[in-house]
Symmetry: C2
């Protein structure tokens, strides 16, 4: 700590580094916890802001993003009420800002989700995309939001930046929205493998400077969301997802070194990617996120001891009573063991979830993980 | 074979028993193959009939179901053109006829899928359901369709009957349609475990006589579809899905014995149920179906040698060229090995798939599986 209370880059010094220590594989006094989509629609504060109405304009406002990030349960630090002592904040944003920065129009249709009026239909549609090298300059608003939020967090907990992985972004760009089968995007993989690789390379080239820019702006960890891994079997995943996931980690780390920036831990979360856990644990990420369909002990057997695991309570478990949440958390912590582990849900929070139950989840992790270390 | 060319129950004698032999774990000369949803919307004949317009009325017409079943690629046997020599037919019907028979209204909304105008919202809604003992008598139209189809198949290939597993039927009845999270149905499991078990028991009680009735009517194998297994993690699956899956097999087999009916092989297909493969292989089914996210060799290691495996080509692989389909089939067959295996897709066919490519898949299975046995 410097004399003025500011850490490197002029940011307030970090007071709670439990999440970062666990991510780096260091010992911790208790299990750190955060929740995917913790700054999302389940919070009344979120629903009352314009984020619910005009989603992507909100994403473009650093002040609004900062406000929403701090309205996550970490705001308990700003309030007398100590309700949700989460161990990390994640910047309020969306994975689809990258396709937008590449020149595609994306709107958020309330009650339906994201929609691309002009998805990629033909190979030549790739020519419509902007040079990936300009993406980072298009996304200055995210960097500003990160810097502002890191300042206002005042070192209470670390701030996580994130992006969607190439395959997941490709599915949205080709499907034009959600899909239960991703059949259009998978049709590209089978019928246009070269164009698919071209698109995935463009996305990778865009993601690397974008993620490096987030770290330069103040992000202290990075999570890559491969949300649509489950639509690919082992073969397609190894061909069209894994190489780009690896490439992102490798190039982000190299660029951080070149820029003289301190390294940050990187998390890969491939939802429904049970078949690729071993490969993901060797893909250059310090942390592997798990969805709730993977049993903790099996995951640890599969990945060995070289990575930290993150997850994986069924989000719907938050519908249970606070007592049952406590029991489910205890079982989960017993199964993952006390170290090299970050507690989280196995997917994002749903809009209809009770914030009190998120609090019960967080408290149960903290309480039981301390007990676990006493035994 | 009796003197009149009719087998037991007066049905024409079976000429191709390869599918049944593989299901029972007996040696076969080649790998039998069929496709989930092989009588579905990808066939022009299907789209031209009223099935596309008035789905459940079609389900209620034995003559229409028979016609659609025979218009599956097995119809090649009726035509000079030998295009799709599939080794089994599956009766045209839908898993949601069971909730209908229990008294729930279900409509098929074109382009959207099934819709329940009055889904189960409260525990007392269970009182709206009919006695499960009457379900089989409500579903006489399915039995008639099976008998008619078995007659008209003339013993060319065996006829498979099917039903949805209790948890999967429950998701539709509670959600009122499709859902990406099944959060309403899972909310029941966490908040109303007793009512959930009550509903699952009602469904099991309905399914047992329904499946036995299908066999009495002429079905020569049965498949249970647990299509929504993936929404449950290992814990919920073991509590709310597996016990009922086991119970269905056990009670169907006992009732067939009691009725003096010959046993039929039973197939369990739990989509996205990678975490439960070992348990499913010990659940009383002769065959375990696999989706395309499970690597064949890992599946075999997991389940041992006591069951036949069925699957699991990525349905989207049928978008590939016929040459590539051949290569993918070769790899799949090499990985599964020549015996105790039934080739299939890892999920149903999609409506936009080219029937010619289904033919390429079937031919590749037959061709390569014979080569495999020569080596």
């Amino acid at each position: 700590m410097e004399a003025n209370g500011l850490g490197p880059q002029g940011f307030p010094e970090l007071k709670n580094d439990t999440f970062l220590r666990a991510a780096w594989g260091e010992e911790t006094d208790y299990t750190p916890v955060w929740c995917m989509r913790q700054a999302g629609r389940y919070l009344p504060e979120f629903r009352e802001t314009r984020a619910a109405q005009d989603f992507f304009s909100t994403c473009r406002s650093p002040e609004a993003c900062c406000e929403l990030t701090l309205q996550q349960p970490v705001s308990c630090f700003l309030q007398p009420l100590r309700r949700f002592p989460l161990d990390a904040a994640i910047i309020f944003s969306d994975i689809l800002v990258v396709p937008q920065a590449l020149g595609m129009e994306v709107t958020m249709v309330p009650g339906k989700g994201p929609s691309f009026p002009e998805p990629l239909r033909e190979e030549q549609d790739l020519e419509r995309l902007r040079d990936p090298a300009v993406v980072a300059s298009e996304l200055g608003y995210v960097f500003q939001a990160i810097t502002l939020t890191r300042q206002r967090l005042a070192g209470r907990v670390p701030l996580i930046g994130f992006a969607g992985a190439p395959w997941t972004l490709m599915t949205y760009m080709v499907e034009g929205g959600g899909s239960s089968t991703m059949a259009q995007a998978k049709r590209w993989l089978y019928q246009r493998p070269q164009a698919s690789h071209q698109l995935l390379r463009i996305l990778t080239d865009a993601l690397v400077p974008y993620l490096v820019g987030q770290v330069a702006a103040g992000a202290q960890a990075l999570q890559l969301f491969e949300s649509h891994a489950g639509h690919l079997g082992p073969q397609l995943f190894n061909k069209f997802a894994l190489p780009y996931i690896r490439d992102v980690a490798k190039r982000v780390k190299a660029r951080l070194r070149e820029a003289g920036l301190a390294p940050v831990p990187m998390i890969i979360f491939a939802k429904d990617g049970h078949f690729a856990l071993e490969e993901l644990s060797q893909a250059g990420y310090e942390v592997v996120g798990l969805d709730w369909t993977v049993a903790p002990k099996k995951a640890r057997e599969c990945v060995g001891k070289t990575v930290t695991l993150q997850g994986n309570l069924d989000p719907c478990a938050l519908y249970a009573s606070e007592e049952e949440i406590g029991q489910l958390v205890k079982q989960m912590l017993d199964d993952f063991g006390p170290q090299r582990y970050i507690a989280n849900l196995g997917h994002g929070l749903y809009p209809d979830m009770d914030p009190e139950h998120v609090g019960a989840f967080v408290d149960a992790v903290h309480k039981h993980s301390r007990l676990l270390r006493q035994n």
